[in-house]
């Protein structure tokens, strides 16, 4: 057990980390925006706000996020109902696929969507807004399925039965009984989906038509294509503010969800009995498999199938590096880089994230807690841009090294780690430790035999998420990755942006590798969690 003073000291670690790698870059962005020509001025803000393109991009960003959210809800809500009420074969698979989809690298999703839609012969869907919406649907459908599905399963179906007994027809039961009770979960998950799609980057960058840009892509173009750092910084600040507002709304909605009472501890699931129920469940299985597994299958078909039938040509090409290719190193080195960066990022995120969780598990006001749980990485582009312009000059110059990449990836992953570890830490807190002490366990033994084994489960899940996120991180990495050490998503992006079958084939081969690694990491740690029971 730690004293108060020791806990305060412990705070210093995450505080220092965030001050240096988040607050300092954000301040640097502010200076870049407000101090462009050696003196303080608001001119760049005026310049940006008077540009009609800024407003049309902002409108497109909001519109795209709203459309993505609505589409995701429309598709996922019926599915959430099926998951909440029925027990059936293949349910575990669908749930696992949805989790994998959620952490799937955006670059891979973009590649998969264009590949699968072209394969289906609907080229209209392979580019532009339809393709972006499809990619957003794939990435976020799991959020709604899981969040609303879980919540729905805990709503007592007897309440609806009571309404039926009181003479309410099905539509009234839904409108007057189910919906009011379900709405908080739907709102909370909508807020999350809106936030994620509002800050979508890789998908829009790759699938968007020329000139189609949301705020994230506009920031990227301003900085990387036009080298207009002050305007890029203004946009980044606008993005930070908008994201902060959305985060506040989202955490408020999620908190409201937690305080709802009257939930069932154990959901009552039934096997589909009537023919109608069976066909609904069957339709759900088919649709969700098509949506969640289809794009993955398309990537593998493209990765193994070249112009001359089935072959391993694309994979073989990954091992070679010649002067003519667009990557400075062989693509297989990108795989190695990705793994090294992801492991480093996971370690950093686990350390910082669990320290935050540890301190939060003690005394923390709800406000402090929400602040620390805010996913900083939602605007990865802003993060990457801030780090890029901050650490390339004395006093702190990290740009020559690769160190910033795992740091940026860790910043994205830390809130996920904290969220995963916090509940288990809370369950260890309190009298479980006291029980160990009364049974004769020294503080060290308590840590070794009680704290550690209990946290390990949470840590395993956290590590899996952190690893998956780091492996797929694109928005920040694209600013920071130098040609000597590209990551898999960077390599995929470069290959996708280059002409020729072999480049496309290599993009798909790399995507398939990333899919396998991500799925293994996420599903594997989920396994670990259940087998850790008898640790």
């Amino acid at each position: 057990m730690l004293t108060r003073a020791a806990e305060r000291l412990l705070w210093l670690l995450p505080l220092a980390f965030f001050a240096l790698f988040f607050a300092y870059p954000v301040l640097n962005l502010l200076v870049t925006a407000l101090h462009p020509d050696g003196h303080w001025e608001l001119a760049v803000f005026g310049q940006v706000f008077s540009d009609s393109r800024f407003w049309s991009v902002l409108w497109f960003t909001v519109w795209l996020a709203a459309a993505s959210t609505v589409l995701t809800l429309l598709v996922a809500l019926p599915g959430a109902w099926v998951l909440a009420r029925f027990r059936f074969w293949g349910k575990g698979l669908i749930e696992a696929l949805a989790v994998v989809a959620f952490v799937m690298p955006t670059v891979v999703v973009a590649a998969a969507v264009s590949s699968s839609t072209e394969r289906l012969g609907v080229p209209g869907l392979s580019e532009g807004v339809p393709a972006i919406l499809l990619a957003h649907l794939y990435l976020n459908v799991g959020v709604v399925l899981r969040l609303v599905g879980n919540y729905w399963s805990q709503l007592d179906p007897q309440v609806e039965e009571a309404a039926a007994a009181l003479g309410a027809p099905p539509w009234r039961r839904f409108l007057n009984v189910t919906w009011p009770r379900l709405a908080p979960a739907v709102l909370a998950s909508s807020a999350i989906v809106f936030l994620f799609t509002f800050t979508s980057f890789g998908v829009v960058l790759i699938l968007g038509r020329i000139g189609q840009a949301n705020l994230e892509v506009l920031i990227y173009r301003k900085v990387v294509q036009l080298f207009n750092l002050p305007e890029g910084a203004v946009l980044a600040i606008v993005q930070i503010i908008l994201v902060a507002v959305l985060l506040v709304v989202q955490s408020w909605l999620s908190r409201r969800l937690e305080t709802r009472q009257g939930l069932l501890a154990l959901p009552r699931l039934q096997r589909p009995r009537t023919a109608g129920q069976r066909s609904i469940v069957a339709a759900f299985l088919v649709c969700s498999l098509a949506l969640l597994a289809g794009p993955i299958v398309a990537v593998f078909l493209d990765a193994f199938g070249g112009s001359q039938g089935w072959s391993l040509t694309n994979y073989a090409a990954l091992g070679t590096s010649n002067e003519g290719t667009i990557l400075f190193v062989s693509p297989i080195e990108a795989v190695r880089n990705s793994l090294v960066f992801a492991v480093a990022a996971t370690v950093i995120a686990l350390i910082i994230g669990s320290v935050v969780a540890f301190v939060l598990s003690g005394r923390a006001s709800p406000l402090t807690e929400s602040i620390w749980l805010l996913p900083l990485g939602v605007s990865a582009v802003t993060l990457g841009f801030g780090l890029l312009i901050t650490f390339d000059e004395p006093p702190v110059n990290f740009r020559g090294s690769a160190a910033l990449i795992p740091i940026a990836q860790a910043l994205v992953a830390i809130p996920f780690v904290t969220r995963a570890v916090l509940p288990t830490l809370r369950s260890v807190r309190g009298n479980i430790r006291e029980a160990a002490a009364t049974l004769g366990a020294t503080p060290l033994q308590t840590w070794r035999f009680v704290d550690l084994p209990m946290i390990v489960r949470g840590l395993a899940v956290a590590a899996g998420f952190a690893m998956a996120i780091s492996l797929g991180e694109f928005g920040a990495t694209v600013f920071l990755a130098r040609s000597e050490f590209p990551t898999i998503p960077i390599a995929i992006y470069r290959f996708l942006g280059s002409p020729g079958d072999i480049n496309y084939g290599q993009a798909m081969a790399l995507s398939s590798i990333l899919i396998v690694v991500t799925a293994l990491v996420v599903v594997g740690t989920d396994r670990l969690r259940t087998s850790a029971r008898y640790l």
Partner: protein, 339 residues
């Protein structure tokens, strides 16, 4: 098994004194039940004995002070109100935990634990996850876990609190058997008086951080000391000086007096004129806890009516409604109280 004594114990939570100057003694192999309403500070006494909260005063185990001794070296077993089972361990490893902490190998701890599982009748669930057990089973695991390392004293915090009545009875019987067999020194905390008198050889009643009465169980029952304790034990016939019944029964003037509810029935209401005979009409009667409890009204003592008064009587037979019935009042039916 050792003697436990606490002297002038004070516990303060967030500047709020919750235990005020409590002194108690439990002989080796003795069983003390601390009875009190929730919030009276009884759990804090246990936590102070276990060294989980800072306290003032002395805690002596087998005659030596525990001051400065950390929890894990105090050799006390504490069974928590919500069990606090290790959810990452299965049943047998929960029970063997204390033995392992004392240096036993895993296999030896498991063998030892098995004995205690048999004692609480859970040997068939040894490999089960504790989260898969019912509430009663979880409580039995918690009991076995507390007993397994053979602590010098066992502290029980509402050990059967969350259970339904049948399970409660079952576990209480099992517990007394185990304690008798192991000659365990026990301090139990409860808000339920039937539990307290069933487990405790000695009973201490707590109110607002202080002991209001303590002693052998029968003695506390017979002489509850003050009107609050009497009422808390379910003895409701408290007569204050100045009340008509107080005077009519000839209580010592100025002394609050308890009329015990288990009065002897007089078969013939004709003797009602005798000075120490109480007559009345049954207003209502209920069967509760093996006894019929009835309220009498329209009372008269020695033939003269006592308007407005009402008493509770306990009887092993149902009292008939309708005509007035009569009870004699012996000297020891009137218990003087201290307030």
């Amino acid at each position: 098994m050792s003697e436990l004594e606490i002297r002038h114990l004070h516990v303060v939570y967030d500047d709020e004194p919750v235990v005020k100057d409590v002194s108690l003694r439990v002989p080796a192999g003795g069983r003390l039940a601390i009875l009190g309403p929730s919030g009276s500070g009884k759990s804090s006494i246990l936590r102070a004995i276990a060294g989980l909260v800072p306290s003032r005063g002395e805690v002596l185990l087998a005659g030596s002070s525990l001051a400065g001794v950390p929890t894990h070296r105090r050799d006390v077993g504490l069974m928590f109100q919500d069990n606090a089972l290790f959810t990452h361990l299965n049943v047998v490893d929960n029970v063997g935990f204390g033995l392992r902490m004392r240096g036993a190998t895993r296999s030896r701890a498991r063998v030892q634990a098995q004995r205690f599982l048999e004692l609480v009748g859970l040997e068939h669930k040894r490999e089960a996850a504790v989260t898969d057990l019912s509430g009663g089973e979880q409580q039995r695991v918690a009991l076995a876990r507390t007993l397994a390392p053979g602590p010098a004293v066992v502290l029980l915090d509402e050990p059967v609190g969350a259970l339904d009545r049948a399970l409660r009875e079952e576990l209480l019987v099992a517990m007394t058997q185990v304690f008798d067999e192991l000659r365990t020194t026990v301090v139990m905390v409860t808000h339920d008086q039937s539990e307290a008198f069933e487990i405790g050889r000695d009973v201490a009643v707590m109110r607002d951080g202080r002991i209001s009465v303590a002693g052998a169980a029968a003695q506390v029952w017979a002489n509850p000391q003050d009107s609050w304790t009497a009422r808390f034990l379910g003895l409701n016939n408290v007569m204050e000086p100045g009340q008509p019944l107080h005077a009519a029964l000839g209580c010592v003037p100025g002394v609050t007096t308890l009329l015990r509810p288990s009065l002897s029935r007089v078969a013939d209401a004709g003797d009602a004129r005798a000075a120490r005979v109480l007559t009345g009409v049954v207003e209502w009667s209920r069967f509760r806890g093996g006894l019929y409890r009835a309220a009498l009204s329209e009372l008269s003592v020695g033939g003269s009516p006592v308007p407005g008064a009402r008493v509770e009587v306990w009887s092993d037979r149902e009292l008939e409604q309708g005509p007035a019935i009569a009870f004699t009042i012996a000297d020891d039916d009137l218990v003087p109280l201290n307030d």
